[in-house]
């Protein structure tokens, strides 16, 4: 009986350890989207996938390094054929979970026509235990939750290699200052 309880407790704590920190309830958007990416990789799957990464390929080697400190990665990305498919309520439903003291907004940017970009850090005992990224455009909606410790510069560099243009000068690789919310003019 006691052993059973211990096993249940261990299982529950392991589940909590790898659990997604931010709940994405975005089925409504999935139904409207023309293109959807839905990736949910908890710790064990993450580590399994990492074993198959080729250290001789630069991108895969970079991901392998990043995975080392992670316990899960969850991505929802939607693309739409028309504007207005997503609403501020969809964004707020996620934002409402990213509250202090656990979550701190690292950077926020708001543009015209629904363009929005925010990065949140989850801190526990002064240690980063998670990252949330929200990025929206009139016809795109992206939410990311990375569970664990991740090198943000290395992650951004990886993104720069893949389709998204890298920042142009050396200063661009520096992390933006904490909570530097700004609005495009």
């Amino acid at each position: 009986m006691k052993l059973g309880l211990i096993a249940i407790c261990c299982g529950a704590s392991a589940t909590a350890l790898f659990a997604q920190q931010v709940k994405f309830d975005l089925d409504r958007l999935a139904a409207k989207a023309s293109d959807t990416v839905d990736v949910s990789l908890p710790g064990p799957l993450l580590q399994l996938g990492a074993k198959f990464l080729d250290p001789n390929k630069p991108d895969e080697a970079a991901v392998r390094k990043l995975v080392a400190g992670l316990e899960g990665i969850y991505v929802r990305h939607f693309e739409f054929k028309e504007d207005g498919a997503w609403t501020a309520a969809d964004l707020d439903a996620i934002r409402s979970q990213l509250k202090a003291p656990e979550w701190q907004r690292l950077v926020g940017w708001k543009g015209e026509g629904g363009e929005n970009a925010e990065v949140y850090l989850r801190l526990e005992g002064g240690k980063m235990t998670g990252v949330a990224i929200l990025d929206t455009e009139p016809r795109e909606f992206t939410a990311v939750n990375i569970v664990g410790t991740v090198d943000l510069d290395a992650l951004a560099q990886l993104g720069g290699h893949y389709g998204v243009p890298r920042l142009r000068n050396d200063d661009s690789q520096k992390k933006p200052k904490n909570d530097s919310t700004s609005k495009k003019k």
Partner: protein
């Protein structure tokens, strides 16, 4: 073929095919041996490769099943790993791309 050769060949064939009685007690020995054999041995007699006995067949079947299951499990694990890797790369590309995008936007504003 000459006549003499033909006669010689006939004689040889006749000698070779001549009926011979079995040695004394042959039938009794065969009956005793049959009585001493089990049904499995009796069935297997005359086969070039003897079919293994039932316990060995069961063991072989179990071993084959284990090998097949282990092979299948390894293949399934490899497939799962490849799928996880593809998803992992996709997740990091999107996350990295978006983070890079945020950095670029903030930099644009701060400059």
């Amino acid at each position: 073929m000459q006549l003499e050769e033909k006669d010689w060949l006939e004689q040889q064939l006749r000698a070779a095919l001549e009926r011979q009685d079995p040695p004394e007690g042959f039938a009794g020995r065969v009956a005793d041996r049959l009585a001493a054999e089990g049904p499995d041995q009796r069935r297997d007699r005359g086969k070039v490769i003897a079919w293994p006995s039932r316990p060995i067949r069961r063991l072989l079947a179990a071993a084959a099943a284990i090998v097949l299951m282990a092979g299948g499990a390894a293949e399934y694990r490899r497939h799962q790993g490849e799928v996880a890797k593809r998803e992992l790369m996709r997740a990091f590309y999107i996350a990295g791309g978006k983070l890079n995008h945020v950095q670029a936007r903030v930099l644009e504003v701060s400059q």
